[in-house]
Amino acid sequence: MNPKLLRNILAICLAVGMLASSAIAGEVEVLHWWTSGGEAKSVAVLKDLLEKEGHTWKDMAVAGGAGANAMTVLKSRAVSGNPPTAAQVKGPQIQQWGDEGVLTNLDDVAMAANWDKLLPKVVADVMKYKGRYVAVPVNVHKINWMWANPEVFKKSGAKIPTTWAEFETAAKKIQAAGFIPVGWGGQNWQEATVWESIVLGIGGSDFYKKALIEADPEALGSATMVKCFDTLRMVLQYIDKDAPGRDWNLATSMVIQGKAGMQFMGDWAKGEFKAAGKKFGTDYIAMPVPETSNGYLFNVDSFIMFNVKDAGAKKAQKAMARLIMEPKFQEVFNINKGSIPCRLGMSRNPFDFPAIYSFDTFEATAASGALLPSMAHEMAVFPAIRGAMFDVVTNFCNSSMTSQKAAENLAAEVKNAI
């Protein structure tokens, strides 16, 4: 009998025992925006686990606007003093909700399961408000991926790049062979996704920390930042002119169909390749964005837990927090979602290769300090600052602004947004 199975049986026995002893079951009302196929399946896992323990799950899915609609609902519920039990909120926004004084303290659950040991410190810090756990992490997405079509590279006689200089050489060859070098989606978050990977690669992790996490105006207006914008401008020479407004999955399908050579996108792009029946290694490959092989930009989804009064609901809430961090949920959820568990030291066996690579770098960078929150995916700075950065980057991408001016604007706009 393997230890995992034993642990699961133990957990179930414990749960049954708890049920029998307390007989208090409660309801959790969970606000989230995981409504698409794979995502909905992933959430259903949690629902089943909770129901097995005798609690009831009230689903409150609000689709649309990449969570903007759900946030609007959440705000109005919180203002009227009737927040749900848990809500899908991530990054620095957890701190903002903490400031409102509406979050509950999960330290007892966290201590019992030793979350401090299970989570990398950078991830744990995001989940804490003033040193106390108020949120539970669900998954980790890696942002700085480059997806490439080896067929296009072969036909163009180009080599998969690992530096930006190599990228330029390869892109020139791909362009000369009649392909579009980069499948590009001209939406602000996609542009920012590429930009932050460039900043990580060229500036290094210390510079990334200063510029995109601490939002230090000096770093934002520095010569290094000018260099980052220069690189972005170079990359932009290799996109097609119809890119503005294009959805990320359409850009991915350009790579799938062999119209474009590569795309810079987080690990969810894998789902598109899989859905198209493509094989990893032969039909598509995944590499870190040039010059970022030692870094890891993470996007961690999490649930914040609100103060609830009802004793049953409180109990159900704690059970939910505990279950989310348990290996069983982390494994099934993340296989469905295409991400990796945020819990360290989990078995890699059920995962596929890009995920396993992601595992390795996640653990390596957690130790080296190059595990960094993604700015573009709401992990690093407050929404106001993120918005200001988005505005400058998207304006740079869609005009002939100089890198010098972009860095100046960046420092000024961020200062203005604080």
Binding site: K75, G245, A384, T394
Partner: protein, 305 residues
């Protein structure tokens, strides 16, 4: 004597009278109260919020004109405001000119007028979401018009306004005009049909040419229609949100942003509630600055008549 004696019928009648006086007020009261609270009350609340430091949720920590100062130093706000001027002006003027022209042509007692009228009016039945999506495809260089014309053999044809940051706002005008000009046509057609034939006949007897009759008699007599058209179109222009969201998403970059999309982005997705409220108040002020003089002049003319 009679005043002292209340017959049952008289009493009943007076109760009914009371009811008749109060009933309209009673029926209107909920709407009136709802209007006071949800329109004027919330305008007031937005005004209050715009002077605070609110970010995620309302917080009443007053900071004076701080948000307004930030607003007017924000580059994106100026782009959005300029876009509204361009879009609003072109949208209203082109819709009215096109609508009037169509109405005059349709008014020439042509055959199958009913069918043609329906065709022109039909876009109005669509939501802006549908219009925006359809035009997004039509205007997309690699899917729509440009590709079609190139396939027809005109290799150098280029129509890339949708992905061109300098021209993207004009694509919003095109889609908006397509949607609304038919409606304006219907308004003008109703106006044209309401004009007394005797006036036109009298002018014809006096030897006036047809264009002259339209220019000097018919069009001026449709002043109330112009009034409604301008009011309706300008409010569509100012509240335009869905069309831009679907057609260009404010892009490329934020080149086709409008104040309404700007406000939404900052207040709701960027947790800058007070800043968004400030932009809403400036929008409100701008609307008032246009509508009040216009209403005033129109209503004064009516009183003089």
């Amino acid at each position: 004597m009679t005043s002292l004696v209340h017959t049952p019928t008289a009493r009943k009648k007076s109760l009914f009278d009371h009811l008749e006086i109060f009933l309209p007020k009673l029926v209107l009261a909920p709407t009136f109260i709802a209007g006071i609270i949800f329109v004027y009350g919330f305008i007031l609340w937005t005004a209050v919020l715009s002077f605070t430091k609110s970010r995620l949720l309302p917080k009443y920590e007053f900071v004076g004109l701080y948000q307004y100062v930030k607003l007017f130093t924000n580059d994106r706000w100026w782009v959005a405001s300029k876009n509204l001027l361009v879009f609003g002006f072109l949208f209203v003027v082109i819709c009215i000119v096109l609508g009037l022209l169509l109405a005059i042509l349709l008014d020439q007692r042509i055959r199958i007028e009913g069918a043609i009228r329906t065709i022109y009016l039909y876009p109005m039945a669509l939501s802006f979401i549908v219009t925006g999506t359809a035009w997004k495809w039509i205007l997309n260089p690699s899917l729509g018009l440009e590709r079609l014309v190139r396939q027809l053999g005109f290799e150098n044809f280029s129509f890339d306004w949708l992905v061109n940051a300098d021209m993207s706002i004009y694509t919003v005008v095109i889609a908006g005009v397509w949607q609304s000009s038919g409606f304006v046509m219907a308004l003008f057609l109703a106006g044209l049909r309401g004009i007394d034939d005797a006036i036109i006949k009298a002018a014809q007897v006096d030897g006036a040419s047809l264009p002259r009759i339209y220019w000097r008699i018919i069009i001026p007599s449709m002043r109330p229609v112009f009034f409604s058209a301008v009011i309706i179109l300008s409010h569509i222009a100012i509240k335009s949100f869905d069309l831009v969201m679907v057609l260009t998403r404010g892009g490329p970059g934020y080149s086709s942003d409008l104040p309404a999309t700007f406000m939404y982005a900052f207040a709701f997705t960027r947790s800058r509630l007070a800043f968004g409220a400030a932009s809403a108040m400036v929008m409100f002020g701008a609307v008032m600055a246009i509508i009040i003089p216009y209403l005033y002049s129109e209503l004064r003319v009516k009183r003089n008549e």
